[in-house]
């Protein structure tokens, strides 16, 4: 008996070691390319051409400086544009999705079931399939090279709506709303001053996801933005890709990629605990 228990324990340890080996391997797979990216942002063009290295160089600030001041590539304005579009999207999407969820959660009205069903049905429709009509309409409305078509549509975000509604069911007691009504608060004030603060954790998670989604978005912005001073980072990356690659200073190429990737990684690492638990709240619904 004792013997078998000990062998069980040995087996378990072997199994555990095997798990960790595979986990470390997968982690390296995830991190390797970012490590190379980081190293190459610190090396000068001739250094990078010379070959592979795992040790950082000394050209980080030179590369940063030259990519930000590159005359052919509006990196600084691209960075600013990306920050603006992503922030506005995050604010609009979370505020109005919470409002929509509150409408369905807190009120009884005739078309409630229909409205909810409708939002659920449109949830899976990808934006790309209506891109043709979208781009034509925006052209007719004179909104080419405007940020309105990239930010305002996030007011109608079915997935965030659904997440907020799920969260409300467990976190927002209607007694609280009733009490505020008895105190004479108007509906709109109740939403802004009572509901929003309670929803803060959910709003934070969804704001991050919306920000990242808008930051990374490429398909639609590429069809709408063609003026240099309006372009966002993904479009600049595509532009860099289509230019004759070898003519470029590789230190700058890596630096531009890093500018697009590292801010997200840093924010993610700071907030990862909230984010990872947030995914599962929303993810089962897509």
């Amino acid at each position: 008996m004792k013997e078998s228990k000990r062998s069980d324990k040995v087996m378990l340890n072997i199994q555990r070691a095997f798990c960790y080996v595979l986990l470390v391997f997968l982690s390296i797979l995830c991190l390797f390319s970012f490590y190379i990216l980081f190293i190459n942002t610190t090396r000068s063009h001739p250094d990078i051409q010379k070959g592979f290295s795992l040790i950082p160089g000394k050209s980080f600030f030179i590369n940063l400086n030259s990519v930000l001041n590159n005359k052919n590539l509006p990196v600084l304005s691209g960075l600013m544009n990306s920050v603006i579009v992503s922030s506005v999207s995050a604010i609009l999407a979370t505020y109005f999705s919470t409002l929509t969820a509150y409408a369905i959660h807190a009120y009884e009205f005739k078309f409630k079931k229909f409205a909810f069903g409708f939002i659920m049905v449109i949830m899976m429709i990808p934006t790309q399939v209506s891109a043709l009509g979208f781009v034509k309409l925006m052209g007719d409305m004179g909104l080419m090279n405007s940020f309105i078509p990239l930010t305002v549509p996030t007011i109608a975000s079915p997935i965030i709506f659904f997440f907020m509604k799920q969260y409300m069911q467990s976190a927002l007691p209607m007694d609280l709303v009733e009490a505020a009504r008895i105190d004479g608060a108007r509906e709109f004030r109740i939403f802004n001053q009572i509901v929003l603060p309670i929803m803060k954790p959910a709003i934070a998670v969804q704001a991050i996801f919306t920000f990242v989604f808008a930051w990374n978005n490429y398909f639609i912005p590429a069809l709408l933005l063609n003026k240099d001073n309006k372009k966002t980072l993904p479009i600049l990356i595509a532009q860099l890709r289509s230019a004759d690659f070898l003519k470029f200073d590789m230190g700058q190429v890596y630096m531009l990629i890093a500018i697009s990737i590292f801010p997200v990684i840093i924010v993610y690492l700071i907030l990862s605990k909230n984010i990872v638990s947030g995914i599962t709240l929303g993810s089962v619904k897509g």
Partner: protein, 312 residues
């Protein structure tokens, strides 16, 4: 009594008012464009140089052209192949990791690993692909490393398997962490007493996994499969950047969305409309399955509740 009734009626008004922003926005920025896309698919409307041809109503001729004279079916096949090349390892590793992470006997320290494997999901696909393009180019770091190790170099982006493999690998990297966490939540939603009973009956890990875990998370596996397939049809950023929109070598890595994008850019609105409608219909058919999982699956609701309280 009277008063209470009138109160209820007056609140109903606010329900409608609060729904206005969503529905107005949806109407303008999604519904009208969708209808207009359908409408445009029945017209001949394209550019020859700077000259505009159409719009002229031609019925279903665009659809005929798409099916008979275009390469859409080939590109759909490419999309499906690349998706499968990424999805098979994705579901394999996700299931394995989810089972390990939730195994009470193993008691692995998982926090940091979860953080790391989820990270690629948030990375800008365009930048990630550009990074891979730089790393795997003929004289890039990876080939340098291969030479350094005394191995033959490989022209990743000139070979069918190399290019498709890189796209699939990127898709795998970006999604396996996400899938792992969804499956973990599903496994943690299973009634713990079932695992306890299995343990008392002397079942080993594999038996427990096969007989209890797998059957009970089947609906969520199906959900993961179909949402991934819907995402697969939208595959665009990675192959577009990696191959500069060409789908090289020889268009073997051209996806359906890249084809749509090509028509949109060249302002061939008739064909773009027809391709959009076809992709819309495919997505709708797949979505019906997802919709079923979300709306009437009691197990799912249990999972959701568990997750909220759980210490993920």
């Amino acid at each position: 009594m009277m008063k209470k009734k009138s109160k209820l009626v007056s609140y109903a008004k606010w329900g409608y008012i609060f729904l206005i922003p969503f529905f107005v926005t949806y109407l303008i920025f999604s519904l009208i464009p969708l209808v207009s896309t359908f409408y445009n698919s029945f017209f001949e409307n394209y550019m020859v140089g700077l000259m505009k041809v159409g719009p002229k109503f031609i019925g279903i001729d665009n659809y005929k052209a798409v099916f008979l004279h275009s390469e859409l079916l080939t590109y759909l096949k490419n999309t499906l192949i690349i998706w499968a090349m990424g999805f098979i390892p994705q579901i394999f590793f996700s299931l394995l990791l989810a089972a390990w992470f939730t195994d009470l006997k193993l008691r692995l320290k998982t926090g940091a690993f979860k953080t790391i494997i989820y990270m690629p999901n948030l990375i800008m696909a365009a930048a990630f692909s550009m990074l891979f393009f730089a790393m795997f180019s003929d004289s890039g770091p990876v080939n340098n490393l291969l030479t350094y190790l005394g191995l033959p170099s490989y022209r990743f982006l000139s070979e069918v398997a190399g290019t498709r493999g890189l796209i699939a690998f990127l898709n795998f990297l970006m999604w396996f962490g996400n899938t792992t966490i969804i499956l973990m939540a599903a496994i943690m939603g299973i009634d713990g007493s079932l695992f306890e009973a299995a343990r008392i009956d002397g079942a080993n890990s594999w038996q427990t996994f096969k007989r209890i875990t797998m059957p009970l998370i089947k609906p969520i596996l199906a959900y993961v499969l179909i949402t991934s397939l819907i995402g697969g049809i939208q595959m665009f950023d990675v192959p577009q950047i990696l191959t500069n929109g060409e789908g090289n070598p020889n268009r073997t890595s051209m996806t359906a969305m890249m084809y749509l994008n090509k028509h949109l850019f060249s302002k061939n609105y008739g064909m773009a409309g027809a391709v959009s409608v076809i992709l819309f219909i495919i997505t709708c058919i797949l979505s019906i399955f997802v919709f079923k999982f979300i709306t009437n699956d009691p197990d799912k609701i249990k999972v959701k509740k568990k997750k909220k309280g759980g210490s993920l």
